[in-house]
Subunit: 172 residues, 2 copies
């Protein structure tokens, strides 16, 4: 329960997909350990799955984006997610907006502050068979986090097994 | 300060752009009053500008999306936003996630619940010259809200004049 870092949803890209233009990776980014995932090029342009706020130690606002394979699967209710699905969870510091509060006339507004990290979940049912078909990665300012953290990802996602280990639901 | 409905950011589509494929509108949706804006087709596929949480009466989680013109202007820091920019603010009920809280081991997780409404801001410097070049609209379940609400939009956006009346900043 302590691994509040690498958590609810996520994605990346897999070495074996490098040949496909759909899985172009940013070449200047280090590969994450265990799962061998790099930050996929263009992930910031992906479509929105949903948004969330984690309070407590996380103290973030987050957006969950999906590549085309993942978004289509979500919209069609396809389970399990097809190989090639990538989910990216972007988190930003949860900060009050004084500017907005002034206009609202009270303290109620919280916006995305500085970026915290990027988490990725990459579906490859053969490569990642031992972890439900998903590979996990986390990057802080482009730097992959260590093995110890990544080992906590799959056990935490197991309660969402019925939805192919994804907690996030598509927001209409 | 009471018009917590139609607020911080937003977009739509304008009758005069109907001929352009870039401004395809959903034909089965009523036109909003005053500014004559309809829900633009495909807005749910637009790229993410940022996310926010409004507490208080709003009690929402929100995502701000932009069409290509708006996203490019944001990324390039272009001010004022070019004509054709459309910004869409989607809001969902702010709901605790028991499922996530169980995994985190404490109450900290809030996710997007049922949709609340869609707000739009459409840039047309000539058509909307009287309101900073922006037209405003709000749709609840596809139905446009009334004139009285829309009249409150621009006055509230005036404090953000230096950023072309947009409160939302691009989240990296």
């Amino acid at each position: 329960m302590k691994h509040i870092g690498i958590f609810l949803f996520l994605a990346g890209t897999v070495a074996c997909f490098l040949a496909s233009p759909r899985f172009t990776q940013a070449s200047n980014v280090e590969e994450a350990p265990i799962f061998g995932i790099r930050i996929p090029a263009g992930y910031r342009d992906w479509r929105l799955i949903s948004v969330a706020h984690e309070a407590g130690n996380n103290n973030d606002l987050r957006a969950v984006l999906g590549n085309d394979v993942a978004i289509n699967a979500y919209r069609e209710g396809k389970l399990p997610f097809p190989d090639g699905s990538i989910i990216a969870r972007l988190a930003w510091r949860y900060v009050p907006s004084e500017e907005n509060n002034k206009v609202f006339g009270r303290d109620q507004s919280f916006i995305a502050g500085p970026p915290i990290n990027l988490q990725l979940m990459v579906k490859d049912s053969r490569k990642y068979a031992a972890t439900g078909g998903w590979g996990f990665a986390q990057f802080n300012d482009g730097k992959p986090t260590d093995e110890a953290l990544l080992k906590t990802c799959f056990p935490c996602h197991e309660p969402a097994k019925a939805r192919d280990y994804l907690f996030t639901r598509y927001a209409p």
